[in-house]
């Protein structure tokens, strides 16, 4: 065995250790998020209910612009005019919840700890992916094990970037980290493949383009899907409250702390819409690659077919949001179906359906 090969083996082992360490830190983050939610439940926020039931049947004035100009005392310091923002016509006017900590100080502390741990775990995981890439001396996207570890790294990365941009997304933490742990667990147990190089059909710079964007799109679609699911819950909660119902204590406690359904809906739309052009590009890059590798750019191979189905499903979702009678919940269900298609394309097609897209070991 050559010396180079031995180093690679070492790197592969280092990568494995890093991935396991990342899982350990993610687990700690998971418990910190749980603690955030638990402590948050002490506070009794009831903004949604307040906003939806305050007017007791009287037609509510939809957020009339109250503030216009303020002159600062008698001095000549002039304040700029303020912009008054109103919810769209027809939308429920509900404020966003305060987040998992529910305004509770201790909860907030645990939330911050959870985010810090997530950052740490992410850094360790990213190092693990990098070590894997170095050990195989190519992009780490040759088999499903590598897809999975890259996938969760990107999903958490998207979450952290949104946090860094000061977007209100901390509520994503718990569901995201839970599934990241599942994803990594699956990767290290079922899908693990020893580090290895690629078969000639996978040798192409289109691999880097096509596969990296595919993984990125999947991770972002996933973040969108989490938003969509929470939207559906929050929306039914809001309509229940609005129609005078009294949801259970647990539901109230959790739902009151989430953003308003309109915000969740907008969040998932933005996320899905932002990545849809990239998904389109991914499919086209795949077609170009297939054209080079197999002599036809489109051949209805199962993987191609399911990419197409996923694409059409997301197009459906975007259309639905522009179609009268399909906005809101119906569009949200379509978004979930679309994500299910993506998942099936990833796991289902790789495992159950045989086609030209096969990898070095699953």
């Amino acid at each position: 065995m050559t010396l180079a090969a031995a180093t690679n083996e070492n790197l592969a082992n280092i990568s494995n250790t890093l991935i396991y360490s990342a899982m350990a830190v993610y687990t700690l983050a998971f418990f910190a998020y749980i603690a955030e939610w638990l402590f948050g439940s002490r506070s009794k926020v009831g903004r949604t209910a307040a906003a939806l039931t305050a007017q007791d049947g009287a037609a509510k004035k939809p957020a009339a612009p109250a503030v216009t100009v303020k002159s600062a005392g008698g001095t000549s310091v002039l304040e700029r005019p303020k912009v008054v923002v109103r919810a769209a016509a027809g939308a429920r006017d509900v404020p966003d919840g305060p987040g998992a900590h529910g305004g509770d100080e201790q909860g907030d502390l645990y939330g911050r700890i959870a985010v810090s741990l997530t950052v740490l775990a992410w850094a360790v995981e990213a190092a693990g992916v990098l070590a894997r890439a170095l050990s195989v001396q190519r992009a780490p996207w040759g088999n499903m094990y590598e897809f999975n570890i890259t996938f969760s790294t990107v999903a958490v990365g998207v979450y952290l970037v949104l946090l860094a941009l000061k977007k209100n997304v901390r509520w994503l933490g718990l569901p995201l980290i839970t599934t990241v742990l599942l994803d990594l667990g699956l990767a290290v147990t079922v899908l693990y493949t020893a580090s290895d190089q690629l078969v000639p059909a996978l040798h192409s710079y289109w691999l880097y383009i096509h596969v990296s964007t595919a993984i990125f799109c999947g991770a972002v679609f996933y973040v969108g899907a989490v938003g969509t699911i929470l939207y559906l819950f929050k929306d039914s909660y809001e309509s229940k409250v609005a129609s005078g119902g009294r949801p259970g204590r647990f539901a109230t406690s959790v739902m009151e702390r989430l953003p308003a359904s309109a915000s969740l809906d907008k969040f998932s739309y933005r996320v899905n819409a932002a990545v849809f052009p990239l998904w389109t590009f991914t499919i086209i890059a795949g077609a170009i690659w297939a054209g080079d590798a197999w002599g036809r750019y489109w051949g209805w191979d199962p993987k191609e077919t399911w990419s197409f189905i996923t694409w059409v499903a997301y197009a459906c979702y975007l259309h639905a949001r522009a179609t009268a009678g399909w906005k809101g919940r119906k569009a949200a269900y379509i978004a979930l179906v679309a994500f299910a298609c993506w998942l099936f394309n990833y796991y289902g097609v790789n495992i159950f359906v045989s086609g030209k897209h096969s990898y070095a070991g699953v």
Binding site: P62, V67, P81, A87, R92, P277, D292
Partner: protein, 577 residues
Amino acid sequence: MTTTDSGKRDDSDLDVVGSRLSTAPQEDTLNVPQLGVIGWARWFWRQLTSMRVALLLLFLLSLAAIPGSLIPQSGQDETRVADFMDRHDTLGPLYEKLGLFHVYSSVWFSAIYILLFISLIGCIVPRTWQFVGQLRGRPPGAPKRLTRMPAYATWRTEATPEQVREVALKALKRRRFRAHVAGDAVAAEKGYLREAGNLAFHLALIVMLVAFAWGQLYKSEGNKLIVEGDGFANTLTQYDDFKSGNLFTADDLNPFSFDLKNFRATYEATGPNRGTPRVFEATVDYAVGADGAEKTTRIEVNKPLEIDDSKVYLVSHGYAPVITIKDGRGKVVYEDAVPLLPLDANVTSTGAIKVMDGYRDGKGKWDQLGIQAFFLPTYGGKDSAVVSQFPALLNPRLNLTPYHGDLRVNAGLPQSVYQLDKSKLKAFRDDKGAQVRENLEIGESMTLPNGAGTITFNGVKEWAGFQVTQQPGSGWALAGAIAAILGLAGSLFIQRRRVWVRAVAGPDGVTVVEMAGLGRSESAKVPEELGALAGVIHDEAPTATDHDPDPDRDPETDPDSDSDSEPPVVTAEGAEK
């Protein structure tokens, strides 16, 4: 109910000014059409080109694509279809009848996408006209009550209304709004690229579909197996097999030729993936046209050779043992490399050698020879199974089983060159009556019984399988794809929005400035942008410092606004930039 009702109430107001922010078709309900053919036709057309039906057709398209990914398709894998037919007596014929073995060219799949594209065209054309109209016209004037808009700002200033409007017009134009003064207000709009992008995207879909269909009709695809040292010229007769689209003619083939100089394959030598291919590479000399100059190039799995519309792909490879056969008189009757077909990943190969003419047996009688060949590039030794242990030529063995008699090549039936029709053939037998078969290493010979001749295994060449495809229109498909992505990005990332700035003299002579912003969808950007604009205008027309009777009163709204639902407020900024 409370919230929805209050929402509905000002929907109409928003609808009027927001209506032309998009060219999406108006939703009309499923009105029963007026009687008469024309009434029905018009009704049908309106339904077909509505967003609702477009949505439905898109949904159907994705559903209809599913069976083709789960059921074997004849376009991809004929043998699996046959296998499926064998195993399912009732389901097989049913699937056959429903076209489920060729979903993507079936009637029902075609019907869905053709309807979808008719709907698409029927949708794009009027939308384009409408959009052109909007580009020619001017942004609509300010609605009466700007307070109803999603983003709103107001202040009082000592500048005259004319001054304010002028400042506003300039500020808006500097920010690349299309703006004009309409009555007492400035009306402005920006983000037309969104609509343009959306139209471009849908148009690009049509271009892609047409290019794809064109390619299907005119495409051709042929396969050719070439042994190292041999060559190929691109004419129909040279192909081993060939298929083409309905409108293809033989004259459409691009003229070129090439010789396979060398084929090289390397494999993982150790580790868990021992035997996995690493490199496949064919070195060829090619010439374009009837008498073009020869050039040398390499063809790899992902790197086809491109000549005009044609692409030459490397699709398979295998071994071709070089055989010399002498007949009963000692005359060489056969000397060639025989390409054999691989059976597994380690290139265990099989094939046949046929000597049809010129062979005479030990007694000098005319006869034909057929030899069954079985080849292992890496023989594992006596104790291993009789399959190759590794794909490269580490320890090659050629196993030959000769027959003689009638090869039946002239029996009128097409015959595979890789198989023997043994119905009229007799095996050679030795003195003990056992069938003759022998394992040869390179350089070894076997002698046929009764002086019937010798067979020598001289060496091994490699062969490469090439697929030559010609698919016109792929350039168009690519252009359509790029346009689609750009259009989509424009459509999804650009926000189309309107801004109005109204300035009127109040009863006390002080000018009241009101600004409002409206986006096609709710977005945080609209109030932010409005705030920035307000800042700029405010710098030129600052707040009147004197009397300010009731800062919380707005001239347009009723006094009974709820204090408990205070709307979010964004501070204006940006003027300092």
